[in-house]
């Protein structure tokens, strides 16, 4: 119960932070926000004073800031994000469109990383210090040092440009998933593998593990009944923390491969100073993190009841 309360507090503070940050962004935009927004709406060649003044009057860009701030936060907590300054569509509708695309990409990446990382990590953790363990250490360290955008660049150059196996960018067909999902998954898998390896090595060195083997269970049985459950708790907790890394990766990778998701929308919104869109997407990402971690807290408490307070 206390877990959920603290997650709720976290969610509220996230909303406050996002509200304050986007308000500051709205107020301190370099140049005249009305002109920028008008340019975003009508194109840079079609802006004139009349258009800028119309935008200014419509959005109430002048006026005392305290009242504006309170109204801003009030709208935020009523989940009224307003209308995108660029497209004129309600922000909620825009985000609804994009969230699905991002969610599928993120799920594909996490799934792929779980298929690659933990099995290799557990194999290495079963024989700490072996040649395989050392090779995995070197490979995962090297992979961890490659930022996701660089991984995407390398994959595009090798798989799309040189070999011509996959499209470099695009959306809509299953094969479009492969490249961005791998670009995200390899970095996550490197960390997953390390976590699984360390957890497996420490579980494998415990007296109860040796006892389970000594009483005659086969290696596979010991691993299945005593190993995996203990390894899964740190892995799960880390998965929750990795969510932020994943979201960051999604923001960048989507922009590179032209994926019509929430990250792509966010980068464009920041670029066009579309503050309501920035606010909506940022809030969605922050609350998504809190939600995922609340679920993981509950799941971890189920798998390992000892930790529950």
């Amino acid at each position: 119960m206390t877990i959920l309360v603290s997650r709720l507090v976290q969610a509220v503070v996230v909303a406050l932070l996002v509200g304050a940050a986007t308000f500051a962004m709205m107020r301190s935009l370099p140049g005249d926000a009305a002109w920028r927004i008008a340019a975003g709406r009508y194109g840079y060649d079609n802006v004139n004073v009349a258009a800028a003044e119309a935008v200014r009057a419509e959005l109430g860009l002048d006026g005392p800031w305290l009242g504006a701030f309170l109204q801003w936060m009030g709208d935020l907590f009523r989940l009224d994000f307003g209308v995108s300054l660029v497209s004129g569509q309600p922000v909620i509708a825009e985000i609804g469109h994009q969230l699905g695309a991002s969610l599928w990409l993120a799920l594909a990446a996490v799934g792929l990383s779980l298929v690659i990382g933990p099995p290799l990590g557990i194999l290495a953790g079963l024989r700490p210090g072996s040649l395989f363990d050392r090779v995995l250490l070197v490979v995962s360290t090297a992979l961890k040092a490659v930022p996701q955008f660089l991984m995407a660049l390398i994959l595009i150059l090798v798989l799309s440009v040189q070999l011509g196996w996959l499209p470099a960018a695009g959306y809509g067909q299953p094969r479009h998933f492969i490249l961005p999902a791998f670009a995200l998954a390899l970095g996550l898998a490197a960390v997953n593998a390390r976590i699984a390896r360390d957890a497996m090595a420490s579980v494998g060195a415990m007296p109860f593990y040796a006892f389970a083997q000594w009483k005659g269970l086969s290696r596979a049985q010991v691993l299945w009944r005593h190993g995996l459950r203990n390894v899964s708790v740190p892995l799960l907790t880390y998965l929750g923390l990795q969510f932020v890394l994943l979201v960051e990766g999604v923001v960048v990778i989507e922009s590179i491969v032209g994926w019509p998701g929430i990250g792509h929308a966010l980068v464009h919104a920041v670029f066009a100073r579309d503050v309501p869109m920035v606010q909506g997407t940022a809030l969605m990402l922050g609350l998504g993190f809190v939600l995922v971690n609340a679920l993981i807290d509950l799941l971890a408490a189920r798998i390992d009841p000892r930790g529950a307070r």
């Binding site: 976290q10 503070v13 960051e248 920041v270 922050g286």
Partner: protein, 268 residues
């Protein structure tokens, strides 16, 4: 976790870290001394030309020397990253100690703030700060500091809470030593190695962030030589000049690998 189950650090590990980071630093510092030149000077006649004595890494699509652009880029990102890490470490250290010493609502408030910041993707905060602050470099510094202090704060607070409650600190207090003495002799030796790891990791994160935003064209602006920006500029010319693109890619990888090894080597 006992030391026995962990693989022993590769004996060559430390030498490798020193070699990689030393090489990158030496190049960034001594590059223009060895081969004088200007990273902004264009010569379209030499567009994508190969290496020559005045430009050992060849030229980019606008005929600018890649050697000198790389030197500039390898000074810019690490400088911003180090400034942000220094600011974040100082803020995290002070706030962490204050939280552990004072406890009560001060601590609770700081923890809630740190937890909320942790929930927001770092690059997103940097993007918003970049939109607010004038100047890209100062924007990166402020945004990255805002993101990175949380890690230092959490480490400091956790360590300080444990250390300040230890019998050794109680004894020192009973003997009449003041807090400055206790913090210096009891707390700092505990925190310092953790800080080094976090600093190396934070520097790598910051450099990755700057490069990633540069690569998607929302970071540093065009004529500035920056690692991510150089990559995206040279990407269309991959077929004509693969080495031109590989130069910033390899430099970024070497820099990040060195920092990752530095952070990992101290963790276990």
């Amino acid at each position: 976790m006992t030391a026995a189950v962990l693989p022993r650090a590769l004996p060559t590990g430390r030498i490798l870290v020193a070699a990689i980071l030393g090489l990158v630093a030496a190049f960034a510092l001594l590059g223009p001394v060895l081969v004088p030149g200007d990273p902004f000077a264009q010569s379209l006649m030499k567009s994508l030309a190969g290496p020559e004595p005045a430009a050992p890494f060849g030229y980019d699509h606008l005929g600018r020397s890649l050697w000198h652009r790389l030197v500039h880029a390898l000074r810019l990102s690490p400088l911003i990253a180090l400034a942000a890490v220094a600011t974040a470490a100082a803020a995290g250290l002070v706030l962490g100690v204050v939280a552990a010493l004072r406890g009560g609502w001060v601590e609770r408030l700081l923890v809630i703030l740190a937890d909320a910041l942790l929930a927001l993707p770092g690059l997103l905060m940097v993007l918003i700060v970049l939109a607010i602050m004038p100047g890209t470099a100062t924007g990166f510094w402020a945004g990255l500091s805002l993101v990175l202090w949380v890690e230092f704060f959490r480490l400091t607070r956790a360590t300080a809470r444990a250390t300040l409650a230890s019998p050794a600190v109680q004894a020192a207090r009973l003997l009449g030593f003041g807090w400055p003495y206790v913090l210096r002799t009891h707390l700092w030796p505990e925190i310092a190695p953790l800080m080094l790891t976090a600093a190396a990791f934070g520097t790598a994160t910051a450099i990755m962030g700057i490069a990633a935003l540069g690569f998607v064209s929302v970071g540093m602006r065009a004529p500035t030589p920056e690692l991510g920006l150089m990559m995206v500029e040279l990407l269309p010319y991959w077929r004509e000049a693969p080495m031109a693109l590989l130069t910033p890619v390899l430099a970024t990888f070497a820099l990040l690998l060195g920092l990752t090894l530095l952070a990992g080597g101290h963790r276990t």
